[in-house]
Protein backbone atom coordinates (compact mmCIF):
# COMPACT_ATOMS: atom_id res chain seq x y z
CA UNK A 1 0.00 0.00 0.00
CA UNK A 2 2.74 2.42 1.02
CA UNK A 3 6.27 1.97 -0.15
CA UNK A 4 9.47 3.86 0.49
CA UNK A 5 12.32 3.51 -1.97
CA UNK A 6 15.78 4.70 -1.00
CA UNK A 7 14.35 7.61 0.92
CA UNK A 8 16.95 10.13 2.05
CA UNK A 9 16.60 13.33 4.00
CA UNK A 10 19.51 15.69 4.48
CA UNK A 11 19.17 18.84 6.53
CA UNK A 12 21.37 21.77 5.72
CA UNK A 13 22.59 23.60 8.78
CA UNK A 14 24.67 26.58 9.63
CA UNK A 15 25.35 29.69 7.58
CA UNK A 16 24.61 29.16 3.87
CA UNK A 17 23.63 25.55 4.64
CA UNK A 18 27.22 24.38 4.48
CA UNK A 19 26.92 21.73 7.14
CA UNK A 20 24.92 18.67 6.26
CA UNK A 21 23.04 16.46 8.64
CA UNK A 22 21.94 13.13 7.24
CA UNK A 23 18.73 12.39 9.12
CA UNK A 24 17.58 9.46 6.99
CA UNK A 25 19.53 7.60 4.35
CA UNK A 26 18.47 5.06 1.76
CA UNK A 27 15.54 3.79 3.72
CA UNK A 28 13.26 1.39 1.86
CA UNK A 29 10.33 -0.52 3.26
CA UNK A 30 6.68 -1.25 2.61
CA UNK A 31 3.52 -1.25 4.65
CA UNK A 32 0.84 -3.66 3.53
CA UNK A 33 -2.92 -3.67 3.98
CA UNK A 34 -4.07 -4.06 7.57
CA UNK A 35 -0.55 -4.23 8.83
CA UNK A 36 0.94 -2.71 11.95
CA UNK A 37 4.58 -1.92 11.46
CA UNK A 38 6.65 -0.50 14.25
CA UNK A 39 9.54 1.78 13.49
CA UNK A 40 11.89 1.51 16.42
CA UNK A 41 14.86 3.71 17.11
CA UNK A 42 16.62 5.75 19.74
CA UNK A 43 16.86 9.51 19.70
CA UNK A 44 18.50 10.74 16.52
CA UNK A 45 17.66 7.60 14.58
CA UNK A 46 15.49 9.52 12.13
CA UNK A 47 12.27 7.73 13.02
CA UNK A 48 10.16 10.89 13.39
CA UNK A 49 11.67 12.33 10.23
CA UNK A 50 10.43 9.29 8.31
CA UNK A 51 6.95 9.83 9.75
CA UNK A 52 6.96 13.47 8.67
CA UNK A 53 8.25 12.54 5.21
CA UNK A 54 5.41 10.07 4.75
CA UNK A 55 2.92 12.73 5.81
CA UNK A 56 4.61 15.12 3.36
CA UNK A 57 5.15 17.69 6.08
CA UNK A 58 8.77 18.05 5.05
CA UNK A 59 10.24 17.56 1.55
CA UNK A 60 12.40 14.60 0.57
CA UNK A 61 16.00 15.04 -0.44
CA UNK A 62 15.95 11.97 -2.69
CA UNK A 63 14.10 8.70 -3.13
CA UNK A 64 10.41 8.07 -3.63
CA UNK A 65 7.44 7.47 -1.41
CA UNK A 66 4.48 5.86 -3.16
CA UNK A 67 1.01 5.41 -1.86
CA UNK A 68 -1.09 2.99 -3.88
CA UNK A 69 1.38 3.46 -6.70
CA UNK A 70 1.28 7.27 -6.71
CA UNK A 71 4.42 9.26 -6.00
CA UNK A 72 3.46 11.57 -3.14
CA UNK A 73 6.15 14.15 -3.91
CA UNK A 74 4.60 14.73 -7.32
CA UNK A 75 1.10 15.31 -6.00
CA UNK A 76 -0.55 18.67 -6.67
CA UNK A 77 -2.69 20.23 -4.00
CA UNK A 78 -5.85 18.40 -5.10
CA UNK A 79 -4.16 15.03 -5.14
CA UNK A 80 -2.55 15.83 -1.84
CA UNK A 81 -5.89 16.51 -0.26
CA UNK A 82 -7.07 13.15 -1.49
CA UNK A 83 -3.93 11.63 0.01
CA UNK A 84 -4.66 13.21 3.38
CA UNK A 85 -8.14 11.76 3.18
CA UNK A 86 -6.48 8.35 3.40
CA UNK A 87 -3.25 8.97 5.29
CA UNK A 88 -3.13 10.80 8.59
CA UNK A 89 -0.81 11.25 11.53
CA UNK A 90 -0.91 11.61 15.30
CA UNK A 91 2.09 12.99 17.15
CA UNK A 92 3.85 12.63 20.45
CA UNK A 93 2.73 15.64 22.44
CA UNK A 94 -1.06 15.73 22.59
CA UNK A 95 -1.09 19.31 23.86
CA UNK A 96 1.07 20.60 21.03
CA UNK A 97 -1.33 19.24 18.42
CA UNK A 98 -4.02 21.63 19.55
CA UNK A 99 -3.95 25.34 18.98
CA UNK A 100 -4.07 26.43 22.62
CA UNK A 101 -6.38 29.38 22.10
CA UNK A 102 -9.16 27.43 20.42
CA UNK A 103 -11.49 24.77 21.68
CA UNK A 104 -10.34 21.24 21.04
CA UNK A 105 -13.20 20.29 18.70
CA UNK A 106 -12.02 22.88 16.22
CA UNK A 107 -9.89 20.14 14.66
CA UNK A 108 -13.13 18.42 13.64
CA UNK A 109 -14.56 21.58 12.13
CA UNK A 110 -11.42 21.96 10.09
CA UNK A 111 -11.96 18.48 8.64
CA UNK A 112 -15.57 19.38 7.90
CA UNK A 113 -14.72 22.62 6.13
CA UNK A 114 -12.01 21.09 4.00
CA UNK A 115 -13.33 17.62 3.26
CA UNK A 116 -17.08 17.61 3.80
CA UNK A 117 -18.15 21.22 3.17
CA UNK A 118 -21.59 20.13 1.97
CA UNK A 119 -22.49 17.92 4.89
CA UNK A 120 -25.22 19.40 7.09
CA UNK A 121 -24.59 20.33 10.71
CA UNK A 122 -26.80 17.58 12.08
CA UNK A 123 -25.36 14.78 10.01
CA UNK A 124 -21.85 16.02 10.78
CA UNK A 125 -22.28 16.13 14.52
CA UNK A 126 -23.62 12.57 14.40
CA UNK A 127 -20.53 11.54 12.48
CA UNK A 128 -18.27 13.28 15.01
CA UNK A 129 -20.04 11.67 17.93
CA UNK A 130 -19.76 8.29 16.24
CA UNK A 131 -16.01 8.76 15.81
CA UNK A 132 -15.61 9.87 19.43
CA UNK A 133 -17.47 6.82 20.65
CA UNK A 134 -15.32 4.63 18.44
CA UNK A 135 -12.23 5.82 20.30
CA UNK A 136 -13.87 5.29 23.68
CA UNK A 137 -14.83 8.86 24.53
CA UNK A 138 -18.19 10.04 25.75
CA UNK A 139 -19.02 13.03 23.47
CA UNK A 140 -20.71 15.27 26.09
CA UNK A 141 -17.67 14.90 28.37
CA UNK A 142 -15.17 16.15 25.84
CA UNK A 143 -16.92 18.42 23.36
CA UNK A 144 -16.86 22.20 23.72
CA UNK A 145 -13.76 22.24 25.90
CA UNK A 146 -10.34 23.83 25.66
CA UNK A 147 -7.35 21.51 25.24
CA UNK A 148 -6.02 22.24 28.72
CA UNK A 149 -9.30 21.08 30.23
CA UNK A 150 -8.77 17.59 28.81
CA UNK A 151 -6.22 14.94 29.74
CA UNK A 152 -3.39 13.84 27.47
CA UNK A 153 -5.09 10.50 26.88
CA UNK A 154 -8.34 12.17 25.90
CA UNK A 155 -6.55 14.48 23.49
CA UNK A 156 -4.74 11.60 21.79
CA UNK A 157 -8.08 9.82 21.35
CA UNK A 158 -9.46 13.06 19.95
CA UNK A 159 -6.76 13.05 17.30
CA UNK A 160 -7.42 9.43 16.42
CA UNK A 161 -11.13 10.24 16.18
CA UNK A 162 -10.30 13.06 13.80
CA UNK A 163 -8.51 10.63 11.54
CA UNK A 164 -11.51 8.29 11.63
CA UNK A 165 -13.73 11.03 10.21
CA UNK A 166 -11.85 10.62 6.95
CA UNK A 167 -11.64 7.51 4.80
CA UNK A 168 -8.44 6.65 6.52
CA UNK A 169 -6.28 3.76 5.37
CA UNK A 170 -2.94 4.46 7.02
CA UNK A 171 -2.23 6.12 10.34
CA UNK A 172 1.24 7.33 11.24
CA UNK A 173 1.41 7.21 15.03
CA UNK A 174 4.57 8.96 16.19
CA UNK A 175 5.36 8.15 19.84
CA UNK A 176 1.73 8.79 20.59
CA UNK A 177 1.71 7.27 24.04
CA UNK A 178 5.11 8.21 25.35
CA UNK A 179 3.74 11.26 27.16
CA UNK A 180 0.75 9.50 28.65
CA UNK A 181 0.57 8.04 32.12
CA UNK A 182 1.29 4.36 32.52
CA UNK A 183 -2.21 3.46 33.60
CA UNK A 184 -3.85 5.03 30.53
CA UNK A 185 -1.20 4.22 27.94
CA UNK A 186 -2.16 0.69 27.25
CA UNK A 187 -5.75 1.67 26.48
CA UNK A 188 -4.61 3.99 23.70
CA UNK A 189 -2.34 1.22 22.48
CA UNK A 190 -5.25 -1.22 22.43
CA UNK A 191 -7.29 1.35 20.56
CA UNK A 192 -4.68 1.40 17.81
CA UNK A 193 -4.68 -2.36 17.66
CA UNK A 194 -8.45 -2.36 17.32
CA UNK A 195 -8.28 0.07 14.41
CA UNK A 196 -6.73 -2.65 12.35
CA UNK A 197 -10.03 -4.47 12.59
CA UNK A 198 -11.53 -1.47 10.79
CA UNK A 199 -9.15 -2.07 7.92
CA UNK A 200 -6.40 0.37 8.85
CA UNK A 201 -2.68 0.02 8.56
CA UNK A 202 -0.52 1.67 11.18
CA UNK A 203 3.05 2.86 11.24
CA UNK A 204 3.85 2.84 14.93
CA UNK A 205 6.92 4.94 15.67
CA UNK A 206 8.45 4.35 19.09
CA UNK A 207 11.63 4.20 21.11
CA UNK A 208 10.06 1.73 23.53
CA UNK A 209 10.81 -1.83 22.54
CA UNK A 210 8.12 -3.41 24.66
CA UNK A 211 5.42 -1.31 23.01
CA UNK A 212 6.62 -2.33 19.57
CA UNK A 213 6.48 -5.96 20.57
CA UNK A 214 3.01 -5.69 22.02
CA UNK A 215 1.38 -4.18 18.99
CA UNK A 216 3.21 -4.79 15.74
CA UNK A 217 3.34 -7.48 13.07
CA UNK A 218 6.64 -6.32 11.69
CA UNK A 219 9.43 -4.33 13.27
CA UNK A 220 11.99 -2.05 11.67
CA UNK A 221 15.04 -1.19 13.74
CA UNK A 222 16.65 2.10 12.79
CA UNK A 223 20.10 3.25 13.71
CA UNK A 224 21.29 6.74 12.81
CA UNK A 225 19.05 7.15 9.80
CA UNK A 226 19.57 3.66 8.35
CA UNK A 227 17.63 0.47 8.70
CA UNK A 228 19.71 -1.98 10.70
CA UNK A 229 17.22 -4.79 10.73
CA UNK A 230 13.68 -5.43 9.59
CA UNK A 231 11.40 -8.43 9.83
CA UNK A 232 8.51 -10.14 11.60
CA UNK A 233 8.38 -8.74 15.14
CA UNK A 234 8.84 -12.01 16.95
CA UNK A 235 11.84 -12.95 14.92
CA UNK A 236 13.53 -9.57 15.25
CA UNK A 237 13.03 -9.61 19.00
CA UNK A 238 13.81 -13.22 19.74
CA UNK A 239 16.44 -13.92 17.14
CA UNK A 240 18.04 -10.57 16.34
CA UNK A 241 20.63 -10.65 13.57
CA UNK A 242 22.19 -7.21 13.86
CA UNK A 243 24.63 -6.61 16.74
CA UNK A 244 22.84 -3.33 17.44
CA UNK A 245 19.50 -5.07 17.81
CA UNK A 246 21.15 -7.65 20.04
CA UNK A 247 22.51 -4.90 22.24
CA UNK A 248 19.09 -3.24 22.39
CA UNK A 249 17.39 -6.46 23.38
CA UNK A 250 19.92 -7.04 26.12
CA UNK A 251 19.68 -3.51 27.46
CA UNK A 252 15.95 -2.99 27.46
CA UNK A 253 14.71 -3.22 31.05
CA UNK A 254 12.39 -6.19 31.06
CA UNK A 255 9.94 -7.36 33.63
CA UNK A 256 10.55 -11.05 33.14
CA UNK A 257 14.30 -11.16 33.26
CA UNK A 258 17.02 -9.20 35.03
CA UNK A 259 20.01 -7.69 33.33
CA UNK A 260 23.12 -9.76 33.06
CA UNK A 261 25.68 -8.78 35.66
CA UNK A 262 28.19 -6.85 33.64
CA UNK A 263 28.79 -3.23 33.05
CA UNK A 264 29.27 -2.54 29.39
CA UNK A 265 29.59 1.15 28.97
CA UNK A 266 28.92 2.09 25.39
CA UNK A 267 31.87 3.50 23.56
CA UNK A 268 29.99 6.59 22.53
CA UNK A 269 33.08 8.66 21.95
CA UNK A 270 33.96 6.53 18.94
CA UNK A 271 30.56 6.69 17.38
CA UNK A 272 31.06 10.01 15.65
CA UNK A 273 34.35 9.06 14.02
CA UNK A 274 33.12 5.94 12.31
CA UNK A 275 30.43 7.69 10.35
CA UNK A 276 32.51 8.38 7.27
CA UNK A 277 32.63 5.38 4.98
CA UNK A 278 31.54 2.12 6.50
CA UNK A 279 28.77 0.85 8.72
CA UNK A 280 27.50 3.56 11.06
CA UNK A 281 27.49 1.11 13.94
CA UNK A 282 31.05 -0.10 13.40
CA UNK A 283 32.49 2.19 16.07
CA UNK A 284 30.33 0.64 18.76
CA UNK A 285 30.13 -2.87 17.38
CA UNK A 286 31.87 -5.68 19.27
CA UNK A 287 31.92 -7.81 16.11
CA UNK A 288 33.32 -5.17 13.76
CA UNK A 289 35.65 -6.42 11.04
CA UNK A 290 37.88 -4.55 8.61
CA UNK A 291 35.26 -4.31 5.92
CA UNK A 292 32.82 -2.69 8.35
CA UNK A 293 34.81 0.52 8.46
CA UNK A 294 35.37 0.61 4.71
CA UNK A 295 32.07 -0.15 3.08
CA UNK A 296 28.52 0.31 4.17
CA UNK A 297 26.54 -2.94 4.31
CA UNK A 298 23.38 -3.17 2.22
CA UNK A 299 20.13 -4.41 3.64
CA UNK A 300 19.88 -8.11 2.65
CA UNK A 301 17.30 -10.76 3.18
CA UNK A 302 18.88 -13.21 5.60
CA UNK A 303 15.82 -15.44 5.89
CA UNK A 304 12.33 -15.08 4.46
CA UNK A 305 11.07 -11.60 5.25
CA UNK A 306 13.90 -10.91 7.69
CA UNK A 307 16.39 -8.31 6.50
CA UNK A 308 19.65 -7.17 8.05
CA UNK A 309 22.37 -4.71 7.13
CA UNK A 310 25.50 -6.29 8.57
CA UNK A 311 28.63 -7.75 7.03
CA UNK A 312 28.84 -10.42 9.69
CA UNK A 313 25.66 -12.07 8.43
Amino acid sequence: MLSLERVTKIYRLGAFGLKKLVAVRDVSFEIGEREIVSLIGESGSGKSTIGKLILRLIPLTSGTIRFEGMDISAMNSRCLKDYYRKVQGVFQDPFASFNPIFKADRIFRMVHDEFYPKMGAREWSEKVEGALRAVGLNPPDVLNKFPHQLSGGQLQRFLVARALLLDIRLLVADEIISMLDASTRVDVLNLLADLRARGLSILFITHDLSLGYYISDRAIILYRGRIAEMGPTERVYNRPLHPYTEMLMESVPRLDRKWEEEIRVEREGDAAISAVAGCVYAGRCPKAMDICTQQEPELREAETGHFVACWAK
Binding site: L55, S77, Y84, S97, I107, E114
Partner: protein, 283 residues
Protein backbone atom coordinates in the same frame (compact mmCIF):
# COMPACT_ATOMS: atom_id res chain seq x y z
CA UNK B 1 -11.51 34.51 16.71
CA UNK B 2 -11.75 31.12 18.31
CA UNK B 3 -13.42 32.48 21.34
CA UNK B 4 -17.00 33.31 20.67
CA UNK B 5 -17.46 37.06 20.74
CA UNK B 6 -19.62 36.96 23.86
CA UNK B 7 -17.04 34.81 25.70
CA UNK B 8 -14.27 37.13 24.64
CA UNK B 9 -16.12 40.18 25.88
CA UNK B 10 -16.92 38.42 29.13
CA UNK B 11 -13.29 37.62 29.87
CA UNK B 12 -12.16 40.98 28.55
CA UNK B 13 -14.49 42.82 30.90
CA UNK B 14 -13.34 40.71 33.83
CA UNK B 15 -9.75 41.73 33.26
CA UNK B 16 -8.85 44.84 35.23
CA UNK B 17 -5.69 45.72 33.30
CA UNK B 18 -7.60 45.67 30.07
CA UNK B 19 -10.37 47.85 31.53
CA UNK B 20 -7.94 50.43 32.83
CA UNK B 21 -5.79 50.51 29.70
CA UNK B 22 -8.69 50.78 27.29
CA UNK B 23 -10.40 53.41 29.45
CA UNK B 24 -7.37 55.68 29.39
CA UNK B 25 -6.92 55.38 25.63
CA UNK B 26 -10.61 56.00 25.05
CA UNK B 27 -10.48 59.00 27.36
CA UNK B 28 -7.77 60.63 25.27
CA UNK B 29 -9.47 59.73 22.00
CA UNK B 30 -12.65 61.40 23.22
CA UNK B 31 -10.66 64.38 24.42
CA UNK B 32 -9.02 64.68 21.01
CA UNK B 33 -12.41 64.58 19.29
CA UNK B 34 -14.47 66.67 21.66
CA UNK B 35 -11.72 68.98 22.94
CA UNK B 36 -11.54 71.35 19.94
CA UNK B 37 -15.23 72.16 20.46
CA UNK B 38 -14.69 73.07 24.11
CA UNK B 39 -12.31 75.87 23.42
CA UNK B 40 -13.03 79.14 21.68
CA UNK B 41 -9.35 79.87 20.95
CA UNK B 42 -7.62 78.77 17.78
CA UNK B 43 -4.50 76.83 18.77
CA UNK B 44 -1.85 79.05 17.25
CA UNK B 45 -3.42 82.49 17.81
CA UNK B 46 -1.90 84.93 20.29
CA UNK B 47 -4.87 85.57 22.51
CA UNK B 48 -3.64 86.70 25.90
CA UNK B 49 -0.73 88.00 27.88
CA UNK B 50 2.32 85.75 27.93
CA UNK B 51 2.89 82.76 30.24
CA UNK B 52 -0.31 82.93 32.19
CA UNK B 53 -0.77 80.09 34.69
CA UNK B 54 -3.92 77.92 34.46
CA UNK B 55 -7.10 79.90 35.13
CA UNK B 56 -10.82 79.77 34.52
CA UNK B 57 -10.36 81.55 31.23
CA UNK B 58 -7.37 79.44 30.08
CA UNK B 59 -7.66 76.00 31.63
CA UNK B 60 -4.08 74.99 30.96
CA UNK B 61 -2.70 78.54 31.03
CA UNK B 62 -0.97 80.21 28.09
CA UNK B 63 2.41 79.90 26.36
CA UNK B 64 5.15 82.42 26.47
CA UNK B 65 3.58 83.98 23.39
CA UNK B 66 0.13 84.04 24.91
CA UNK B 67 -1.34 81.06 23.02
CA UNK B 68 -3.97 78.96 24.81
CA UNK B 69 -2.28 75.73 25.97
CA UNK B 70 -5.51 73.74 26.28
CA UNK B 71 -6.44 74.53 22.73
CA UNK B 72 -2.97 73.54 21.53
CA UNK B 73 -3.16 70.42 23.65
CA UNK B 74 -6.42 69.05 22.25
CA UNK B 75 -5.44 69.86 18.68
CA UNK B 76 -2.02 68.38 19.24
CA UNK B 77 -3.62 65.29 20.74
CA UNK B 78 -5.59 64.83 17.56
CA UNK B 79 -2.46 65.20 15.44
CA UNK B 80 -0.61 62.73 17.63
CA UNK B 81 -3.35 60.13 17.22
CA UNK B 82 -3.37 60.65 13.49
CA UNK B 83 0.39 60.18 13.21
CA UNK B 84 0.36 57.16 15.48
CA UNK B 85 -2.59 55.63 13.72
CA UNK B 86 -1.44 56.11 10.15
CA UNK B 87 2.28 55.66 10.74
CA UNK B 88 1.74 52.73 13.11
CA UNK B 89 -0.75 51.04 10.80
CA UNK B 90 1.45 51.32 7.72
CA UNK B 91 4.49 50.08 9.65
CA UNK B 92 2.62 47.18 11.20
CA UNK B 93 0.90 46.24 7.95
CA UNK B 94 4.18 46.07 6.04
CA UNK B 95 5.80 44.24 8.94
CA UNK B 96 3.03 41.65 9.02
CA UNK B 97 3.02 41.16 5.27
CA UNK B 98 6.77 40.69 5.03
CA UNK B 99 7.23 38.93 8.36
CA UNK B 100 4.56 36.30 7.73
CA UNK B 101 5.61 35.65 4.15
CA UNK B 102 9.27 35.25 5.05
CA UNK B 103 8.60 33.21 8.17
CA UNK B 104 6.06 30.81 6.73
CA UNK B 105 7.53 30.29 3.26
CA UNK B 106 11.14 30.05 4.40
CA UNK B 107 13.86 29.14 1.91
CA UNK B 108 14.65 31.51 -0.96
CA UNK B 109 11.68 33.80 -0.32
CA UNK B 110 12.86 34.25 3.23
CA UNK B 111 16.42 34.99 2.23
CA UNK B 112 15.44 37.67 -0.29
CA UNK B 113 13.00 39.35 2.06
CA UNK B 114 15.51 39.15 4.86
CA UNK B 115 18.03 40.96 2.72
CA UNK B 116 15.56 43.73 1.87
CA UNK B 117 14.65 44.05 5.52
CA UNK B 118 18.28 44.34 6.56
CA UNK B 119 18.97 46.97 3.94
CA UNK B 120 16.06 49.14 5.07
CA UNK B 121 17.10 48.49 8.64
CA UNK B 122 20.62 49.86 8.29
CA UNK B 123 19.60 52.98 6.38
CA UNK B 124 19.52 55.72 9.03
CA UNK B 125 15.81 56.39 9.19
CA UNK B 126 16.00 59.88 10.55
CA UNK B 127 18.46 60.98 7.87
CA UNK B 128 16.13 59.76 5.14
CA UNK B 129 13.21 61.45 6.79
CA UNK B 130 15.17 64.70 7.02
CA UNK B 131 16.11 64.57 3.35
CA UNK B 132 12.59 63.80 2.21
CA UNK B 133 11.03 66.29 4.61
CA UNK B 134 13.42 68.99 3.51
CA UNK B 135 12.61 68.26 -0.12
CA UNK B 136 8.89 68.73 0.41
CA UNK B 137 8.17 72.39 0.96
CA UNK B 138 4.57 71.99 2.07
CA UNK B 139 4.27 69.34 4.72
CA UNK B 140 1.20 68.04 6.48
CA UNK B 141 0.53 65.50 9.16
CA UNK B 142 -0.46 62.93 6.54
CA UNK B 143 2.82 63.13 4.61
CA UNK B 144 4.74 62.89 7.83
CA UNK B 145 2.80 59.79 8.97
CA UNK B 146 3.22 57.96 5.67
CA UNK B 147 6.96 58.66 5.61
CA UNK B 148 7.34 57.41 9.14
CA UNK B 149 5.31 54.26 8.44
CA UNK B 150 7.31 53.45 5.30
CA UNK B 151 10.60 53.46 7.18
CA UNK B 152 9.54 51.87 10.44
CA UNK B 153 8.49 48.36 9.38
CA UNK B 154 11.77 46.37 9.43
CA UNK B 155 11.80 45.80 13.16
CA UNK B 156 8.24 44.61 13.09
CA UNK B 157 8.97 42.34 10.14
CA UNK B 158 11.94 40.76 11.88
CA UNK B 159 10.04 40.16 15.10
CA UNK B 160 7.04 38.68 13.29
CA UNK B 161 9.24 36.53 11.08
CA UNK B 162 11.00 35.06 14.10
CA UNK B 163 7.70 34.29 15.81
CA UNK B 164 6.25 32.78 12.65
CA UNK B 165 9.33 30.64 12.27
CA UNK B 166 8.84 29.10 15.66
CA UNK B 167 5.09 28.69 15.26
CA UNK B 168 5.03 27.15 11.80
CA UNK B 169 6.70 23.95 12.99
CA UNK B 170 4.14 23.42 15.73
CA UNK B 171 2.19 20.20 15.59
CA UNK B 172 -1.11 22.01 15.24
CA UNK B 173 0.13 23.73 12.11
CA UNK B 174 1.10 20.31 10.74
CA UNK B 175 -2.35 19.08 11.69
CA UNK B 176 -3.95 21.92 9.74
CA UNK B 177 -1.78 21.09 6.76
CA UNK B 178 -2.88 17.48 7.01
CA UNK B 179 -6.44 18.77 6.98
CA UNK B 180 -5.75 20.28 3.57
CA UNK B 181 -5.92 23.86 4.81
CA UNK B 182 -4.20 26.39 2.51
CA UNK B 183 -1.21 28.56 3.43
CA UNK B 184 -3.13 31.82 3.79
CA UNK B 185 -5.71 30.20 6.02
CA UNK B 186 -2.99 28.60 8.13
CA UNK B 187 -1.16 31.90 8.56
CA UNK B 188 -4.26 33.84 9.53
CA UNK B 189 -6.23 31.03 11.17
CA UNK B 190 -3.55 29.17 13.10
CA UNK B 191 -0.43 31.28 13.42
CA UNK B 192 -1.70 34.85 13.62
CA UNK B 193 -4.25 34.24 16.42
CA UNK B 194 -1.45 32.91 18.59
CA UNK B 195 0.43 36.12 17.98
CA UNK B 196 -2.50 38.47 18.56
CA UNK B 197 -1.10 40.03 21.68
CA UNK B 198 2.31 39.97 20.09
CA UNK B 199 1.01 41.78 17.01
CA UNK B 200 -0.66 44.27 19.29
CA UNK B 201 2.63 44.84 21.06
CA UNK B 202 4.24 45.37 17.67
CA UNK B 203 1.49 47.82 16.82
CA UNK B 204 1.99 49.65 20.10
CA UNK B 205 5.70 49.93 19.46
CA UNK B 206 5.01 51.15 15.93
CA UNK B 207 2.40 53.56 17.27
CA UNK B 208 4.73 54.89 19.94
CA UNK B 209 7.65 54.92 17.55
CA UNK B 210 5.65 56.95 15.06
CA UNK B 211 4.70 59.45 17.75
CA UNK B 212 8.28 59.80 18.88
CA UNK B 213 9.67 59.99 15.36
CA UNK B 214 7.16 62.72 14.62
CA UNK B 215 8.28 64.61 17.71
CA UNK B 216 11.89 64.31 16.62
CA UNK B 217 11.09 65.64 13.16
CA UNK B 218 9.07 68.44 14.69
CA UNK B 219 11.98 69.34 16.92
CA UNK B 220 14.38 70.01 14.10
CA UNK B 221 11.82 72.10 12.31
CA UNK B 222 10.84 69.54 9.71
CA UNK B 223 7.42 68.78 11.16
CA UNK B 224 4.12 69.85 9.74
CA UNK B 225 4.21 73.49 8.70
CA UNK B 226 0.55 74.19 9.10
CA UNK B 227 -0.60 72.70 12.41
CA UNK B 228 0.32 71.78 15.97
CA UNK B 229 1.18 68.46 17.65
CA UNK B 230 2.09 67.34 21.12
CA UNK B 231 5.68 66.89 20.01
CA UNK B 232 5.74 70.37 18.56
CA UNK B 233 4.35 71.76 21.81
CA UNK B 234 7.02 70.13 23.94
CA UNK B 235 9.72 71.24 21.61
CA UNK B 236 8.51 74.81 21.53
CA UNK B 237 8.40 74.69 25.30
CA UNK B 238 11.93 73.38 25.42
CA UNK B 239 13.11 75.87 22.81
CA UNK B 240 11.68 78.83 24.68
CA UNK B 241 13.04 77.75 28.06
CA UNK B 242 9.74 76.82 29.65
CA UNK B 243 11.64 74.57 32.04
CA UNK B 244 13.98 77.16 33.61
CA UNK B 245 11.21 79.77 33.57
CA UNK B 246 8.91 77.44 35.46
CA UNK B 247 6.13 77.45 32.86
CA UNK B 248 5.29 73.85 33.75
CA UNK B 249 1.77 74.00 32.34
CA UNK B 250 3.24 74.33 28.88
CA UNK B 251 5.15 71.04 28.76
CA UNK B 252 3.53 68.88 31.43
CA UNK B 253 0.19 68.23 29.64
CA UNK B 254 1.71 67.04 26.33
CA UNK B 255 4.44 65.03 28.09
CA UNK B 256 1.94 63.43 30.44
CA UNK B 257 -0.44 62.65 27.60
CA UNK B 258 2.19 60.89 25.49
CA UNK B 259 3.34 58.87 28.49
CA UNK B 260 -0.22 58.01 29.48
CA UNK B 261 -1.25 56.93 26.00
CA UNK B 262 1.76 54.68 25.40
CA UNK B 263 1.55 53.35 28.99
CA UNK B 264 -2.13 52.60 28.68
CA UNK B 265 -1.56 50.76 25.42
CA UNK B 266 1.05 48.65 27.14
CA UNK B 267 -1.25 47.76 30.03
CA UNK B 268 -3.95 46.92 27.47
CA UNK B 269 -1.51 44.58 25.81
CA UNK B 270 -0.72 42.70 29.02
CA UNK B 271 -4.42 42.43 29.77
CA UNK B 272 -5.19 41.16 26.29
CA UNK B 273 -2.50 38.55 26.64
CA UNK B 274 -4.30 37.22 29.70
CA UNK B 275 -7.61 37.19 27.88
CA UNK B 276 -6.25 35.45 24.80
CA UNK B 277 -4.37 32.82 26.75
CA UNK B 278 -6.86 30.49 28.44
CA UNK B 279 -4.22 29.23 30.85
CA UNK B 280 -3.63 32.67 32.28
CA UNK B 281 -7.32 33.40 32.18
CA UNK B 282 -8.37 30.77 34.70
CA UNK B 283 -6.22 32.00 37.55
Amino acid sequence: MGLKRSEFLFFAWRNRKLRIGVSIVIFFVILAIVGPFLTKYPPNEYVEAAAFPPSKEHWFGTTIFGQDVFSQFVHGLKATFVVGLIGGTIGTFLGILIGFTAGYRGGMVDEVLNMVTNIVLIIPTLAVLIIIAAYLTVRGILTESVLIGLTAWPWAARAIRAQTFSLRVRDYVDLARMSGVGSMKIIFGEIAPNMMSYLLLVYILQFGGAVLNAAALDFIGLGPTNTISLGLMMNYALLWAALPLGIWWWFVPPGLAITAIVGALYVTNVGLDEVFNPKLREM
